[in-house]
């Protein structure tokens, strides 16, 4: 025992009026029991302590001097609906001190559809810039020298055509391939876990990843071919241990794929980069980043790398979008600052800070400036950068780091036993774990156990939005279609077709897909055409949806009787509804458009079922017509449409219209997700019966839904 420990217990007990200080222990979402005080004893025998920054196992950071030598790169992710608007935005940001570019793409582009495809009419320019051909890419980087600017692209599904178009654009600018610097996300495994912006089944998708790694290791030595992402896993609801474990397990899977395709570990491992998300659990996030570096070093030893860089985890970090609230949104500036601090104290290599309005819409110029300045102020005003890993040696942080290492290692072992991450994903294990974690978190928030200021505590009355909202006009789609037509008219069609056939042939054989796609991009083939050329061989992947049950209400059963009563109250109402009308209230939750973030509908489905509803779930990527067909055939009382990517203004009214056309106008439609309050009236006018923004407790929306159903069916 450390000197004085017993005396400390005595003092603490006295301060607690006789209660043991153990009663202050807090069980974190990860299941880690955190004590109110740590000391030297807690560090005894821990494998994770005792190293220096820049030295293996890199717990304290990959560089010897860390930010004292050079601060992290400020890299703001952004993309506006059109290439031209994005280009202007990038140029402005570069002038304002930003060092790297990060491109967000339109959902339609992610899924490999051209803007003239009717399936994606509601998605063009939503969530980012739509790219249909090299002509768009050239506009996007007009006046931005690609030999000097490091460009990061968030692309996973349509990774081959997009990367090919970017490389071709650089070459048409006169830049050589070996000069190119930047990162492509190219992390397809997590798409099957959370974000669902894949195109092909896992196996050909993994081959695409290997093809890109192989091509870049030969031709683009400064380019990061993959950014293994935990961010989306966190945003889907994973706690820090799960994020750490699944991300690193994904990483190991990519390493194996590359080695299997004949590459030497040291040729590609130094170019692997990571992408983590940090939320509001301050010390936990710091410890997670430290633990991830330690574990990656340990995991890489099985491949016998010779170069030190091969087992060095370098990462980009983004602050959590999920932690942002629509209510009292200026609080988000503070949240983002705290999260940015944990990313910095955790030792990130680059950072994106979210804009405060991202819970409501795409960032505006003002909100983007505040977000960027958050980082600049930490770098240039706070003196935080002066010392490498300033929290190294903190009893609490070191102990916590070790806890995460142990917890994550256990899960990684479990995945290895299943046969690696690809097999584990097939088994559904990681997805179920993430969804369970998400449902539990929702239940804690709904009960006020996890406080969110302005949402479930200190909520403002009569809140008014007083900032501008960026809207994507529908003309964006028409402009894109126009340019596709022009491009197709101007190109040498025979040459283009030959290039596309070469892509199909490479997909069927062993040719490098990126190499043939660059030729196709230069021949003015579109994203959709190149994607289709591969789809002929690979097919399109259809997700299976599983849903956890019981996780939401089980958080309640541990809770005070008050909140348990809320659950019981709604269960009674659904049971009464059954007795009065002959069946339980039946709802369809659907996600229309190409936005694949399904955390919201999963949490809603799972929680509503726990409250006694019969809940139908629609397949992903539905058109309003398909959703209406399903609502009618399953004969539901109500459809809940989730929108997180600005598609609500077209998709929701169209759904209501389709239901009416098919004679099922009495099926009510409500909407949830990221919808700016200024659009509420528009949706109500279109016939939407209720809108439940982020932060609406499930029990509250379920209560309102029951009010409406009872009024209509229990008269």
């Amino acid at each position: 025992m450390a000197t004085g420990y017993e005396q400390w217990v005595e003092m603490a007990t006295k301060q607690m009026k006789g209660k043991s200080p153990d009663t202050l222990n807090w069980k974190s979402p990860e299941g880690i029991t955190v004590k109110p005080m740590y000391c030297e004893d807690d560090l005894k025998g821990l494998a994770t302590v005792g190293s220096l920054p820049g030295m293996a196992p890199y717990t304290r950071g990959p560089m010897a001097t860390m930010y004292a030598g050079r601060p992290w790169t400020i890299r703001q992710y952004a993309g506006f609906s059109t290439a031209k608007a994005s280009n202007e935005f990038y140029r402005k940001n570069l002038a304002a001190g930003q060092k790297g570019l990060s491109v967000a793409f339109s959902l339609s582009t992610h899924r490999g559809y051209d803007s003239d495809n009717p399936r994606v009419a509601g998605d063009i320019g939503k969530a980012g810039v739509a790219i249909d051909s090299i002509e768009d890419m050239k506009i996007l980087f007009d006046g931005i020298p690609l030999d000097k600017m490091s460009v990061s692209m968030t692309m996973n599904g349509a990774v081959i055509p997009i990367l090919a178009m970017w490389i071709a654009t650089a070459e048409e600018q006169g830049v050589k391939q070996e000069q190119l610097e930047g990162t492509i996300q190219n992390d397809i495994l997590k798409e099957y876990l959370t974000r669902n912006t894949y195109i092909y089944p896992p196996e050909p998708s993994m081959r695409i990843v290997s093809d890109i790694m192989a091509y870049a290791s030969k031709n683009m030595p400064k380019y990061n071919t993959i950014s293994i992402s935990g961010y989306h896993i966190m945003e889907a609801g994973a706690d820090s241990v799960l994020q750490c474990a699944f991300t690193l397990a994904d990483g190991v899977e990519y390493v194996r794929a590359a080695i299997k395709s004949g590459m030497d570990i040291d040729t590609f491992a130094p170019r692997l980069s990571f992408f983590f998300g940090v939320g509001m659990n301050f010390f936990m996030e710091i410890a997670m980043l430290r633990a991830a570096r330690f574990l990656w070093h340990r995991l890489m030893q099985q491949f016998n790398p010779k170069k030190a860089q091969s087992s060095m985890l370098r990462t980009h970090v983004q602050t959590s979008g999920w932690s942002l609230t629509e209510q009292d949104p200026y609080n988000n500036v503070i949240r983002t600052t705290i999260e940015a601090m944990s990313a910095v104290l955790g030792g990130t290599q680059s950072l994106h800070t979210n804009s405060f309005d991202e819970a409501v819409c795409l960032p505006t110029e003002l909100s983007a400036r505040i977000a960027r300045n958050t980082q600049i102020i930490i770098q240039e005003e706070s003196q935080i950068c002066r010392v490498a890993d300033p929290l190294g040696g903190s009893y609490y942080v070191e102990w916590l780091t070790n806890q995460i290492v142990e917890g994550a290692q256990k899960i990684i072992d479990e995945i290895e036993e299943i046969g690696g991450m690809a097999k584990a994903i097939e088994s559904g294990m990681p997805k179920m774990r993430i969804e369970e974690s998400a449902a539990r978190r929702q239940a804690r928030i709904d009960q006020g156990k996890d406080v969110i200021v302005g949402v479930n505590k200190y909520r403002l009355k009569d809140e008014k939005m007083d900032f501008d909202i960026l809207e994507v006009p529908d003309s964006v789609r028409l402009e894109q279609i126009d340019r596709i037509n022009q491009t197709k008219k101007a190109r040498d069609n025979a040459k283009c077709q030959a290039c596309l056939e070469a892509v199909t042939k490479a997909a069927a054989g062993n040719g490098n897909l990126l190499e043939v796609a660059i030729a196709a991009a230069k021949a003015r083939a579109t994203v959709g055409e190149i994607s289709d050329a591969m789809e002929k061989v690979f097919g399109r992947f259809v997700a299976t949806t599983q849903c956890v049950s019981g996780a939401y209400s089980s958080e309640y059963s541990e809770a005070s009787s008050d909140s348990a009563q809320v659950i019981e109250g709604i269960r009674k109402r659904t049971a009464d509804f059954l007795a009065k009308t002959g069946r339980r209230p039946r709802i369809l939750v659907t996600k229309m458009g190409q936005d694949g973030h399904d955390r919201g509908i999963k949490v809603v489905a799972s929680s509503y079922a726990d409250l006694g509803f019969d809940v139908d779930i629609s397949p992903m990527f539905q058109t309003p017509e398909e959703a209406a067909k399903m609502a009618i055939e399953n004969d539901v009382h109500l459809v809940g449409a989730s929108s997180l990517a600005a598609g609500h203004k077209t998709l929701v009214p169209e759904l209501i219209q389709k239901l009416k056309e098919k004679g099922a106008g009495e099926i009510m439609v409500v909407a949830g997700g990221v919808i700016p309050p200024s659009d509420y009236q528009f949706l109500y006018d279109a016939g939407c019966k209720g809108i439940y923004g982020p932060g609406t407790p499930i029990t509250e929306s379920a209560g309102k839904v029951m009010d409406m159903l009872e009024a209509q069916y229990c008269k």
């Binding site: 259809v542 997700a543 299976t544 949806t545 599983q546 849903c547 049950s549 019981g550 209400s553 269960r571 659904t574 049971a575 059954l578 009308t581 002959g582 069946r583 339980r584 489905a605 799972s606 509503y608 079922a609 726990d610 409250l611 006694g612 509803f613 019969d614 809940v615 139908d616 779930i617 629609s618 397949p619 992903m620 398909e626 067909k629 399903m630 009618i632 055939e633 399953n634 004969d635 098919k662 004679g663 099922a664």
Partner: protein, 329 residues
């Protein structure tokens, strides 16, 4: 809910999707007023039923039932068949609610105009499932669907319930680490008309073949229910869409053989008869619980049994006697 049965009857016969869906809701309703209308509807539709192939499919979770039905059903529609899929999903015993996610795994079939998929919560009782599914099947037949697939999760007694209402009962299995047989219940083997080992694809083909042999051995130990039909064991890959035509051929030849031997008619008669007895039992039960005197005395008697003041046998005799006494009036 509409009061007039002809509203539903006409809608179903017109093959109007909206009306088909609403009629199924009517059939599934637990309200006695709804059931009364449903009875009329079913009776009126009965002459239009009986021509479809009735196919039951079960399998352990993970066997790929939905993927199988997606591929198999899509193949049937390309052959010109109209396919109705009735999927039964378990309701939570605690909340009573359910998650009906079947269509997420049957994405193509769900938007196929030749197909109709209706997931239904199992609700509280097995009898409930049996009644609803049987009648829903008839409604779909009347609406012109000529292949009806009833899917059930392999839990509890639901397989035997479904087997008792279909012509052909298909058990879907996957190969594992050589202990396949532990995952299959003897009762399921007895009602199976075929076992299909799914996921015979990629590096799994050999394991699937091995599993096929093991099931063949196991089936030898079970007496076939018909002298004219030995349940075959087949392999398929719903993912790669191989073996599906063979499965359909098997179902067709089963139908041919059973029709010519007269066993299909006999089977359907037996099913109708046992269904009648089931309903008699259900009616008796309902009569019992709704009897005013029983309702009055039950709490008292229950308490007495709970407190050990009355023997359960004595209590049961007394309760049933109340029904008898009532008959004497």
């Amino acid at each position: 809910m509409h009061k007039d049965s002809s509203y539903y009857i006409q809608g179903v016969l017109d093959n109007n999707r909206l009306m088909l869906a609403r009629t199924i809701t009517l059939v599934e309703s637990i309200l006695s007023t709804h059931q009364e209308i449903a009875k009329h509807v079913i009776n009126a539709l009965l002459p239009y039923t009986g021509k479809a192939v009735r196919l039951g499919i079960t399998g352990v979770p993970g066997a790929g039932k939905s993927t199988f039905i997606e591929s198999f059903g899509t193949m049937l529609t390309t052959l010109g068949h109209r396919v109705a899929v009735l999927a039964i999903d378990p309701s939570s015993t605690r909340s009573g609610g359910s998650i009906l996610g079947d269509k997420t795994r049957m994405e193509k079939l769900a938007v196929n105009d030749m197909a109709f998929i209706r997931p239904s919560p199992s609700g509280g009782s097995l009898g409930g499932v049996a009644r609803k599914t049987r009648e829903t099947m008839l409604v779909c037949e009347a609406a012109g669907f000529d292949v009806i697939i009833v899917e059930t999760v392999g839990v509890g007694q639901s397989e035997t319930t479904v087997a008792s209402m279909v012509d052909f009962f298909l058990v879907l299995q996957i190969s594992g680490a050589g202990d396949e047989l532990q995952g299959i219940k003897k009762g399921v083997l007895e009602v199976a008309d075929a076992i299909v080992v799914n996921k015979a694809d990629g590096d799994n083909v050999n394991r699937a073949k091995l599993a096929k042999r093991q099931y063949e051995t196991a089936l030898h130990l079970v007496t076939p229910s018909s002298p004219n039909w030995t349940p075959p064991v087949m392999t398929c890959s719903a993912l790669e869409q191989t073996g599906l035509v063979e499965v359909w051929d098997t179902i067709k030849s089963h139908k041919r053989i059973m029709t010519s031997s007269g066993e299909l008619d006999k089977k359907r008669q037996d099913q109708a008869m046992s269904w009648m007895w089931f309903l008699v039992n259900e009616g008796l039960e309902r009569w019992f619980y709704q009897h005013p005197e029983i309702q009055k005395l039950l709490p008292e008697i229950k308490q007495a049994v709970e407190e050990g003041k009355m023997a359960p046998t004595r209590a049961a005799d007394d309760l049933v006697a109340i029904l008898g006494k009532n008959l004497l009036f």
